[in-house]
Symmetry: C2
Subunit: 378 residues, 2 copies
């Protein structure tokens, strides 16, 4: 019997486990292949402001709250794990490729100012002063000093080490079922048949969260993303470059010395695992349009994974309709950004019995007025 | 002591070994990783006619000779190995994407007719009747019924099996040196230090042929090619589609059920092993322009290898300036096509002492009137 059983050893599951263990709870995480889901694909942007134009305000506030937690979270994580997580605090530049793209930048900028967010419009020349590798075809930019990035895989590795150092038990098996006893979640059944009995059970299975037997209906669907990793980019970019290229979004996130992540497609194709010719083409085409030298980089990895999408693109945090089952899923495009606030809010709920104010409006019950069904979210 | 030591276990080395063994010679092939060089990347086109516009006539004649040998070669290889090699004899279509591309097709067609080669100009509608997956943007076509294809990796696997069945010995080690004794090649020294002593030594190391200690100077240089493999293409194409797309060449070769090879870049970058963003982008971009449905295919493999280039793009066959060292290298873009004629000509030289007429003009001595140096060929 453990205090907490966590289903899922991605960034969210491990971070919840670590923070809960820090509060003195005994925690067991179950995952047959920790860190090989969406966590393996995440670019690591900590970018609530540059995402703001396309998101609702409550999610923006949650993102800003989590962004503010990142420096301390990263520092404690690095100290406990003994390995770096690659937090970069140099800001993010958004480039507009053609006139229509720049008009969309202006709309984003207006929205950001309305919300009181710090962002500066740049001329093409100012944009290239900040990022000299930008194509001369770029027509305008927007600099957001506060949007940062982290190395998602390094964070995952550090969370594994920090969990171990803090007494978290990792069971490498597949979660087969959430076990209920007397109408209350009582732990996890594994593929091996073993049961991890627990006082509280946390669901952190990302895009698979709604597919586990024993879990009540949840509005989580897979949103496929294809992403590329390249090498040879040392010194190419100052910080993250996001861009609108003929109406399409692309981002380039430098990390770990000479590495660069280019992402990401967003596709409603269920659990389609294929890296496609069209997905890779579009990412490369747009990235090369914005930063021509990308053409010379080595393409080291192509990957397709699934984000856990929800009807309003915001996560599902806190109690579920099954007592004892706590949700930490549905993070869609913001899993890395929202890791600290998710972990700390859920750990507070587990240890203290109350979900902190910041997370209260992200319960799964916010969808209960509308019927949850295929017409709403799949 | 073996009759023949072959340096290199790619398509050429294994085919020479098999044919020499069939003539009763004892043969040892040395390669630390057989089939992982250019043979792994080859698309398998048997296409001397559609290559003809960009090649010299002697090479064309050699290619036509080898093409004529392919059906019997494939049949005997399949019978000996017990595995298929995927010979497709449905012809090749060349598509012209824009008006300039079609003008180049017309020039190619004129050249083919001048040489008495069978090729038919197609209207866009005729081209799409042959290949309904072609983009409606394609402006013209050229059908060459006689240009075929084979599955290069299946050929390599079959040659391994056929060699084994015919008594060829395969030593999995790296060739460290061609050993000479009294001014004559006497076999191969391996990385382990062992020596394979042989009456005759065959050099079939592809792009690495000129880099082996003990080999006399040879005008062979690496010509980098990047190539893609895709899945999900069952029924997409009738046969090979080559295309000129805004002056760039691309080809799409269907093989093995639902597979498709898209190739290939041609880059003078020495032994640069990197798959680059620009290389992959250009191949995908052109392939999708010509056959839009390629966009939906799964990208299963990206690869960079080096063709053995020569000053006139034709192979080096037969005696070298070092007595006892026989050349079977320099096949550039035509390794798969030229495998039968190379294997049979070199085996005839090894077993009977005379290089057949068809191969005589491809000796390395054809370059001796010009000094071999960087200005000529690197």
């Amino acid at each position: 019997m453990t205090d907490v059983a966590v289903a899922g050893g991605g960034l969210i599951g491990l971070a919840v486990a670590w923070r809960a263990a820090r509060r003195g709870l005994s925690v067991t995480v179950v995952d047959d292949a920790p860190g090989t889901g969406a966590s393996a694909a995440a670019a690591g942007m900590l970018a609530p402001v540059t995402e703001a134009g396309y998101r609702e305000e409550p999610l923006l506030r949650l993102g800003l709250d989590s962004l503010a937690r990142w420096p301390a979270f990263a520092a404690e994580l690095e100290a406990t794990a003994g390995t770096p997580v690659g937090l970069r605090t140099v800001g993010t530049l958004v480039a507009g490729f053609d006139e229509d793209d720049v008009r969309e930048l202006d709309a984003l900028h207006a929205f950001q100012r309305e919300l009181g967010l710090a962002a500066h419009r740049l001329t093409p020349r100012e944009a290239r002063r900040r990022e000299p590798a930008l194509s001369t075809r770029v027509r305008g930019g927007l600099l957001v000093e506060g949007d940062h990035s982290v190395d998602g895989r390094a964070v995952h590795a550090a969370l594994l080490a920090a969990g171990q150092a803090t007494g978290v038990v990792l069971v490498r098996d597949r979660v087969a079922e959430v076990v209920a006893d007397g109408g209350r979640a009582a732990g996890l059944r594994l593929a091996s048949g073993d049961v991890v009995a627990a006082g509280a059970t946390v669901l952190a299975l990302g895009a698979r969260s709604a597919d586990v037997p024993g879990v009540p209906p949840l509005p989580v669907r897979p949103v496929k993303g294809q992403i590329l990793r390249l090498a040879g980019a040392a010194g190419l970019l100052e910080g993250t470059v996001r861009a609108l290229v003929r109406g399409r979004h692309v981002y380039l996130v430098p990390y770990a010395g000479d590495r660069l992540v280019v992402g990401a497609t967003s596709e409603d194709r269920g659990f389609d695992p294929r890296v496609t010719a069209g997905g890779v083409h579009d990412l490369l085409h747009d990235a090369i349009d914005v930063v021509p030298e990308v053409s010379e980089l080595e393409l080291t990895e192509t990957l397709a994974r699934w984000r856990p999408g929800t009807p309003d693109n915001a996560p599902l945090l806190g109690p579920s309709s099954l007592p004892g089952l706590v949700l930490a899923t549905g993070h869609h495009r913001n899993g890395v950004l929202l890791t600290p606030v998710t972990a700390e809010a859920v750990a507070e709920l587990l240890a203290g019995g109350t979900l902190p104010e910041v997370a209260v409006s992200f319960g799964a019950d916010r969808f209960e007025s509308e019927p949850i069904g295929r017409t709403q979210w799949s």
